[in-house]
Each structure stands twice: as C-alpha cells, then as structure tokens.
Amino acid sequence: MTNRVIAWIDQRFPLTSFVKHELTEYPTPRNLSYWWNFGFLAGFVLVLQIVSGIFLAMHYKPDIHLAFDSVQYIMREVNYGWLLRYLHAIGASAFFIVIYIHMARTLYYGSYRAPRELLWWSGQILLLLLMATAFMGYLLPWGQMSYWGAQVITSLFRATPWFGNDLVLWLRGDFTVSDATLNRFFALHYLVPFIIFGMVLIHLVALHAVRSSNPSGINLADKDNIPFHPYFTSKDFYGLGVFLIVLCGFVFFKPDFFLEAINNVPANPMQTPAHIVPEWYFLPFYAILRAIPDTLGGVVAMVMSIMIFAAMPYLDRSKLPGGARFRPLYRLAFYVFIIDVAVLSYVGAHPPSGVLVDVGRVATFVYFATFLLLPPVSILEERWLRARGLPPGLETLVVGEDDKVGAEK
C-alpha cells in the first residue's frame, strides 16, 4: 500500500528522487567534525523561534498602553506562557551563539572560498535579516531597555546625508519611538522570520550545489564521501540533544541570564536609564560605533564591520587549499580576530570612560586590520609556504583548483 502511494506521488512529484538526491545519497565528507553541526542547529533554532513566536503572538498586544502588561500577562497568566517567553528570549541568544560559531567555523576552515562565495553571501544576508529581526523583537516587551535601544538604533539613521531626519521620521512614524513604531516593528518581526526561512532554502540549494567543505579544505574523492542519511542525520541529532540540554538548562534554571533587569521597568520616554547596553550579540558592533568620534563615521564603521565578511572570498588571496589548520599566518589572524571581538564585546558592555575608550579604538583598528591586511598577508604566506616546500600531492591540487576556476569563467 505504502509503495503504491509513493509510486502514485512519484509520477506527479519527484519525491523519491528528491529524498535520494538530497538525503539518502547526498555525498557528505566523512571527516566533518562537530563544528559542522551548527548549520543544522541554526535551522532548528529558527523553527523553535517561529513556533514559540507564533504562540506568543496569540497573547501579545502591540500597543504602547498594553504591550508591557501583555508580556507580564503571558508570564503570569497564560498556561506555560513563561516557558514560551523564556524559550523565545533565550532562543534569540542561542540563535546568535549558533550563528557566530557557524561563521567562525567558516572563517577558520576557509569554507567561504571558491566555489562557495554565493553560499557565504546568502549567509551574510541571513545574518543581516537575523539582526534586524532580533532588534525589532527586542522592542516588543516595551521595557526601558527596549525603548531606549530602539530610540538609539533608529537615531543612527539620522547620520544619513541629506535626508537623515526625514528617514528617521519615516522609520518611526512619529517624532520618537511610539505606538506607530511598536506596531510596525511587531508586524515586521512577525514577517521577517518567514523571509529568513525562504532564504535558508536558498542557502541550502547553494550548499547542495557546491556541497559541504570539510576540515581538510580539499575537495574529497568520491570514496571519502558518505551519504548524509543516516550518518549525518544521526550526528546532527546527537548534537541537537547536547544543544537542547544546554538550552533547557538556561530556560529552566537561569532564565534571566540573558535578560536585562532594567527591561522589567516599563518604557518611559521622559527618562533614559543610567546605562544603556544592547543585547550581548550586538556588543562588538556597538563598541565600533562608539569608537569613532563622529556620528556618520561611527555608523559607517559599524555597517562596514558587519558587511566586511562578504569580502572574505576576495580578501583571502592565497591559492593554497585548506583552512587555518595548514596556514600559520591565517590561523594567527583568526585567533587575533576572535580575541579582538571578545575585547570589543567587553568595551561595548561598559560605559565609555578612561582607558576603555582607547582600548575600544585600538580594538576597532585591529578588527578592520585583520580583514584589510589579509590580501598581502595571504600572498606572503603562500610564498613562504611554497618556499618551505608544500606536502607532496598538494601542488597538483593547487593547479587543479586554478584550472577549475579558470574553466568556470
């Protein structure tokens, strides 16, 4: 019976061939480490956020007079409302942790390199959409930090030349962040996740065209690939189990860990809290914004700090295959970058005073230097490695890759 139903479907829709091609026969490098689990985890968190968000939206009211109380109502009255809200709020932080690890893995192993540029750029768009969604969602509880965060971030657009003031007015729909702003943020916060979902499908189409990279950084021979299912489905689900243990640990035992206490005070447009900080996942970019002593310059630097990832396939001039494991200078640059982001996060979380101002400026300089010095560094590194002698067999792979790229052009 089942076979007949599947045969009936297959005549009308490529079900069996799709499952075969994308799952049970989809060749996946056998040497993928657990760092390759985070794409799947990001997909899971996206579904978790959409589902918990839909059920929260059934109780939430996007009205400045009702929003704060409706969140308290969700926490106190709605059955399991506390669970939905904590899952959604902590899920947002989990989303960024997973995505940042996913990006760090891509950088470390050079997965952004040809032919995976479009895969990387679709990921860059996903990052921007995720940031926009998180920012708009943070306004919805209508607490003090929600309000002033939105006030500050929308004010950034005032730096736009010529029509900055009009643009801010248009974004807010009012002279300050107000009822109109809250309502449109809610509408967009509900919409954009579905755009993200569509973009994830494009991300996956791009992935399945070029296939996963792997820790060696070399395209493996067919015999070194194994089917995605069951090998990597089971590996992904194991990783999911570990992830869920950590997530539930926070949801049930440390639900306030990622939340700002001051956001439990209703928004007051007449009184800014003494110390404004964005959510932790925006801290490095916030620190870069503050490091530049000029409004427009700061905004440009902040936008550049996010968009510069897209240039990675062209900043990295090395023709040698393989990620940071086989490239000492690139590996050094990677760790400098990670430490620098941590420093920027610390600076962003504290009031800009004394030595922290200088630390923030140096860290901002280092942030851009790790990217912009990469072309000469990667070329010098390649020359040095070649002079030292490449491992036997690697030379052919380098030439092979060059030929392939040339043939595609």
């Binding site: 109502y73 009255e77 709605v78 059955n79 939905l84 689900f237």
Partner: protein
C-alpha cells in the same frame, strides 16, 4: 575485527526503534505547552462564577447577566406563568418544568439558542429567536423551530432567598 565490532542486527534494531519511540514521545510532549497555552487562562476561568442579586427584579421581568461572556436570562415568573408551565410538558424536547427550576418563581437559563447560538428575544409566551424563528416557552423549552434542545440551564444555586451564584 574484534568481538565488540561485530554488528548485532537485533540490538541495532532495538536501539533504533526505542530511540525513535522516545524521540517521538518527547516531541509530542513538547507540543503540550503550545496546545495548553491556547486554553483559557486561570483569570478567564475565574470569570466563570457570577453572583447575582435578585432584589429589584419585579415579577414578569427578565434580568440578563453575563456569565462566561454569555447572556443568562433570570426570569421572575408570575404565578399565572408558573401554573401554565407546570401543566405543559414542552415541545419536541419534553421536560417537566420542575426539573428546570430550583425555585418556581425564578427561571434561570442560558440565553443562547440551541440551534446556532443567537440570543432569543422575550415575547409574552416565552422567547423567539430572531435568527431562524425558534420559539421557546416560559420555561425555556423548545416549542417549534429548528432548535434541537431546550435552552440550557446553567449550574447555579441560591446563596440566599434573593441571591444566586451561577457557575
């Protein structure tokens, strides 16, 4: 190949089956908070108890009160109406009047037509539903029209002679 590396298909099948069952049960269990969140909150449920003061409802008058957001008719019947109702057995859903009241002076029924949920209007002989013409008598029993049942009697009790608690 060492002893431990040998594949035991039965063991493997058992592990796959038990993992799948546990996983599906866990996923199903995780859906419960979502479903439960759509149920009425405790504050909504607490509105399901309404206290009504009967003082000031003259004989022949109907006092309508909300209970769970639905209208409840509290009808102070005259002696003539009580006598007529106690004689009658009702229409297509026969029921003695005594089974529908706790005190014959007061008829307490949910003012929702049992056909499709409209609120019937009071007439001299009982109620007429404006939507599809169901006619109820002064005991809330269906006499004619498409409604299948008599008007429902909500759970209530007399806290005092002139006070009832619905719910």
């Amino acid at each position: 190949m060492s002893e431990q590396d040998k594949v035991d298909p039965e063991r493997r099948d058992f592990l796959i089956t038990s993992t799948t069952i546990l996983g599906v049960a866990g996923a199903a269990g995780a859906c419960w908070p979502l479903i439960s969140s759509m149920n009425p909150t405790p504050s909504v449920k607490s509105e399901a108890v309404t206290e009504v003061d009967l003082q000031g409802v003259a004989p022949g008058a109907v006092h309508t009160v909300p209970w769970r957001g639905e209208p409840v008719f509290i009808f102070h019947r005259t002696q003539g109406e009580i006598a007529a109702m106690e004689e009658s057995k009702g229409g297509k859903d026969p029921q003695p009047d005594a089974a529908r009241v706790k005190n014959p002076d007061w008829l307490v029924v949910i003012g929702i037509c049992t056909h499709l949920g409209c609120v019937p209007n009071k007439t001299a002989k009982g109620w007429l539903c404006p939507c599809h013409g169901s006619i109820y008598d002064n005991s809330g029993r269906i006499i004619s029209g498409p409604a299948p049942r008599n008007l429902d009697v909500p759970p209530y009790h007399f806290a005092a002679d002139d006070k009832i608690i619905i719910g």
